[in-house]
Symmetry: C2
DNA sequence: ACGATGTTTGACCGAACGGTTAATATAATA
DNA sequence: TATTATATTAACCGTTCGGTCAAACATCGT
């Protein structure tokens, strides 16, 4: 048996810095989503990407920076996905609906995102800055849209609506595997996702009908 | 200087198995809430409780069992807190309101609970069984209450209302430190909590008014 | 062919990890 | 008080951790 021929399979040395970086990032993303920062070792990432551990440090310096790079990818993707949707015209009601749709679209295209970000939120103060950075555009979009139409403070203020609908949207996806067990089906299949989307839009309409004076 | 006198400070050897077990559990709970399973070492727990590491294994066998013991405490507490509230009388609307109140009460008395359980949910399949066990009573209470009054399937079915209100309730607490930064205040102070509670009840009323045919 | 530059590895480091164990301190029992 | 049973410690084990580093490999302009 002669030595292994140099054959190109995914995640093997390729001499291209950009490709390698991206392969490492892909592996890191998948693992961090599955097990969180503390549940993943740098060696896990390297092996899953098909490289030696040292290479991860060559490209990312340390584990925290690797993790932050993954977060930044999502942040950029989210910003890009929402920016367009936030600038559409129409009534406030229309704009709220299309903003929520854009956010759901983004989540469905990035199914790992809810778990990654929500676990980070639960982890307390460690990454608060980055999470705030994430939510700030969403938050200011939502609250400024509703701003003139609901009370500025109190139980029916825009900020509470924001938290409610944000939680309503994102939790369906973070809970999906539990809901699958509870319901006996796959909450992430296409028809179920359509159903969920419709539910949220209906609840938005119900809230606007009752608590927002005018469109 | 003579040897340290045997004085009783919190978390010191006391020869009492029950007390020691509880001190370890308390320390473990606080740390698991703050940093999650993988972010906490057994030595952390032992030191925080004021004992040697070996003692944790003496009482709990291994790290996973220690973690499960913490989860079980919350599960028992939750079950006890909700059982009474689920058996009150009145209209369906009244019973939904009082069930939600009981759940909020429980969370406010156990402020670490949302972070602990939600992070576990985000961590995927590892503890799905236990999480399902957690949510099953809540879920069946909510869906059976609404059962006869909304569609069995489709976007306005009981199951979707359950997810929406569950997420609405719990996310306010898991997001509190982020919301504090976003709003410039403390979302966990008493007046803010009252406000949040009122918001949720109002949204429930709006939903019932629009989508539930009769009380 | 050559060195220069960038890429990748594998061996290595000290620290921390989960877990074990023999020995000791304490409490209970007789 | 002597004996037994329990509670607790400190040292230890093998493994894995994040991180470093010198050497090897690849690429490419000259």
């Amino acid at each position: 048996m002669k030595k292994a021929e140099p054959q190109m399979k995914s995640g093997e040395a390729n001499g291209n810095a950009t490709d390698t970086r991206e392969q490492i990032l892909k592996a890191a993303e998948a693992l961090f989503i599955e097990r969180g920062f503390d549940g993943v070792s740098v060696n896990d990432v390297a092996v899953n990407a098909g490289f030696a551990k040292g290479l991860v440090f060559y490209y990312f310096g340390n584990k925290k920076e690797l993790f932050d790079s993954v977060l930044d990818i999502y942040y950029t993707a989210q910003a890009g996905a929402l920016l367009g949707a936030f600038e559409t015209g129409g009534t406030v009601r229309d704009r709220l609906h299309s903003g929520i749709d854009a956010y759901i679209d983004f989540i469905e295209k990035n199914p790992g995102y809810p778990r990654l970000i929500q676990r980070e939120i639960c982890s307390g103060a460690r990454n608060t800055d980055k999470i705030v950075q994430y939510m700030e555009p969403l938050h200011s979009w939502g609250t400024s849209l509703l701003g003139g139409m609901v009370a500025e403070t109190g139980p029916m203020s825009a900020r509470h609506f924001f938290v409610s609908f944000f939680g309503m949207v994102i939790n369906y996806y973070t809970y999906s595997h539990v809901l699958g067990r509870l319901w006996g089906g796959n909450p992430l299949e296409e028809s179920a996702l359509r159903e969920r989307r419709e539910h949220i839009h209906s609840l938005l309409d119900a809230s606007l009908d009752k608590y927002v004076t005018e469109d």
